[in-house]
């Protein structure tokens, strides 16, 4: 079974007016699709729609051919996990308890976590190098550590599709880099289909396989970083002058404003 994520002519929004419409895209297993676009264009809304926590106004989300709309919350959460920004976390839960909550979709109403669930949670923590933090309250952890704990929680959900919403927003350069390398590894090793929203176009150039550029409530273009990260395209979407030069080391696009 190939669990690709597909959005078909999806319209997303909160009131009557959709924020995004006619969104059609797909993410293959093992692939990282980056969602980029100006502030307020609807990147986070797209994540909420793609995981089913925000009902679509129109269109469909399919994972492995299964329509998310037809699935109950727990079944949905076995298909797609979400790593949100590490803000407003309840600070006194210890990291292991947080990761264990990733097992929620596999537990019945009155069921408690089994040793196997603990095992899965600990493995997820080992892979995100958070195992040393297991007993620490998440409120005491740094932004980068919290974000890794949330990735471990998503991993513990054991889903074929993972969505990440601005996971690097509050991280310094080194932690941004480390985090995206981790995501890269997970997509490769677990054959995860990964959709990630990012602000930093240079991180997109380095870590994404494909890029979807959003503007004016629509998907403007989807393609490889080299195809999307061009001065003309970006200048039009972001409304400023943009230069793109090859990275001195690997030749990937390097985006500069001004």
């Amino acid at each position: 079974m190939r669990y690709e994520l597909r959005l078909e002519r999806a319209a997303l929004g909160y009131g009557m007016e959709p924020v995004l419409q006619d969104v059609t895209l797909s993410v293959q297993p093992g692939e990282i699709l980056a969602i980029v676009g100006p502030n307020g264009v609807g990147k986070s809304t797209l994540v909420k729609g793609a995981c089913g926590s925000l009902p679509l106004m129109d269109g469909e989300v399919l994972i492995g051919g299964q329509n998310l709309r037809e699935l109950k919350p727990d079944r949905r959460a076995r298909m797609v996990s979400v790593v949100s920004q590490a803000v407003n976390l309840p600070p006194s839960f210890c990291a292991l308890d947080v990761v264990l909550m990733g097992r929620t979709p596999y537990l019945g109403w009155l069921e408690q976590e089994s040793d196997r669930d603990r095992q899965i949670a600990m493995e997820a923590m080992a892979r995100t190098e958070t195992i040393d933090l297991a007993e620490r309250p998440i409120g005491e952890l740094s932004g980068g550590e919290q974000q890794r704990v949330l990735i471990a929680r998503a991993l513990a959900q054991s889903t074929p599709v993972m969505l990440l919403d601005e996971p690097t927003a509050h991280l310094d350069l080194r932690h941004q880099d480390n985090l995206l390398k981790l995501v890269r590894d997970l997509a490769f090793v677990d054959n995860l289909a990964v959709m990630i929203t990012l602000h930093d176009l240079n991180l997109v150039a380095r870590f994404a396989d494909r890029v979807a550029l959003l503007s004016d409530g629509r998907v403007r273009k989807i393609g490889t970083p080299a195809e999307i990260l061009t001065p003309d395209e970006l200048a039009e979407v972001y409304g400023i002058r943009i230069h793109v030069i090859p990275h001195p080391l690997d030749g990937k696009p390097l985006v500069l404003s001004g």
Binding site: R78, P90, E129, I131, R174
Partner: protein, 359 residues
């Protein structure tokens, strides 16, 4: 990644040995001690050996020779034991529902009194009493039923007003609670004034006295409380997940709407039952869950049952103080909980300033 690879084993970490059970041992023994103290304290002094033997006599399989006085037996079996049981149950209900409301609203200042549920339930109860409803309807006691329905309506109104977008900020929750609560209290006063013959009893009831005596209120409220408290004690895991907000909880696969509905119904059921039989007792549902969280951490699977146990002992302790502090006069227990609780509430509010949330 930051730091070197760890060699920590993948063996699940579990709390070791007896430490894991300490909270249960502490709160369980505190409740037993307070039950005993509450039965022992009163205007008539009953010798402790007699009292002890009278209590042991209740245990199944033990038949002691009843050489204590008939008066003592009546006082213990017909007055002190039922009053103590009802007080303990009310405390358990308030502690449990307070913990549940705090988790549900993700707000440390939520408690059945502050969010207006208690006053709403009180209005329902007084309405039922004033309308002279039959004591039972289809086998259910009508006063707690009316209190329960009014409590649900109140919590729905307060939540709808307090909700800003997808969260319930401290300020709007308190303001909505105060407003709705004042309205319910005003209506209650109005009804009580219009039915003057019941006024004295109703006033007593409002500040935490008992409308009825003997075993009847205990037996009538027991099924409501057992069901509601059991549901709350079992849904700690769902409350834990809800601490991450509706959005993340949904993404973790929790049926958020259903969980919240079940929890709010169970919490309102027990809070309303406590109000119907013990009057409006403020701040127990606020203080107890806080103390439990401070002592034993944030996990609702522990917080909820522990808040139920500690709520029982706390209210019993407050009641004992209320009975002895101006002896032979007995104060309503609500006076004591308010005197302790109001400063605690202000301290919490001060702590919350600028944080939005305490825990």
């Amino acid at each position: 990644m930051g730091g070197s690879r760890t060699n920590a084993s993948l063996e699940p970490v579990k709390p070791q040995g007896v430490r894991r059970y300490l909270p249960w041992i502490w709160s369980g023994s505190a409740l037993i001690v307070m039950l005993f103290v509450s039965v022992a304290v009163g205007p008539v002094k009953i010798p402790l050996p007699d009292l002890g033997r009278m209590l042991f006599d209740l245990l199944p399989g033990l038949q002691l020779e009843a050489d204590w006085s008939r008066t003592f037996a009546t006082i213990v079996y017909q007055i002190r034991l039922p009053n103590t049981a009802l007080m303990a149950l009310a405390g358990m209900a308030l502690g449990g529902s307070g913990a549940a409301y705090q988790g549900l609203f993700r707000n440390p200042l939520a408690d059945p009194y502050i969010i207006g549920v208690a006053s709403g339930a009180g209005l329902g109860a007084v309405l039922a009493m004033a309308a002279n409803w039959p004591v039972s309807l289809l086998g259910m006691a009508t006063v707690p039923l009316a209190a329960f329905i009014a409590a649900l309506i109140t919590v729905a109104i307060v939540y709808a007003i307090a909700r800003v977008g997808r969260s319930t900020p401290v300020t709007t929750l308190i303001l909505a609670g105060v407003a709705v609560s004042s309205f319910a209290t005003a209506m209650t006063s109005l009804i009580m004034l219009l039915s003057t013959d019941e006024l004295h009893r109703a006033v007593n009831w409002m500040v935490g006295g008992f409308a009825l005596g003997g075993w009847e209120p205990v037996l009538v409220s027991l099924p409501y409380l057992l069901i509601g408290l059991a549901v709350l004690a079992l849904l700690g895991r769902q409350l834990n997940v809800l601490q991450f907000g509706d959005e993340q909880a949904r993404q973790m696969g929790l049926d958020v709407e259903r969980s919240k509905l079940i929890i709010v119904v169970a919490a309102s059921l027990v809070a309303a039952t406590a109000v119907a039989f013990s009057g409006i007792i403020a701040f127990v549902g606020l203080i107890v869950p806080h103390v439990v969280r401070l002592l034993w951490g944030p996990d609702y699977r522990r917080t909820l049952p522990l808040a139920i146990l500690v709520g029982g002992s706390f209210l019993l302790a407050a009641d004992v103080v209320a009975r002895v502090i101006l002896a032979p006069r007995e104060l309503p227990v609500g006076v004591i909980t308010a005197v302790v609780g109001a400063p605690f509430f202000l301290w919490l509010l001060y702590q919350t300033k600028g944080m939005g949330r305490v825990w």
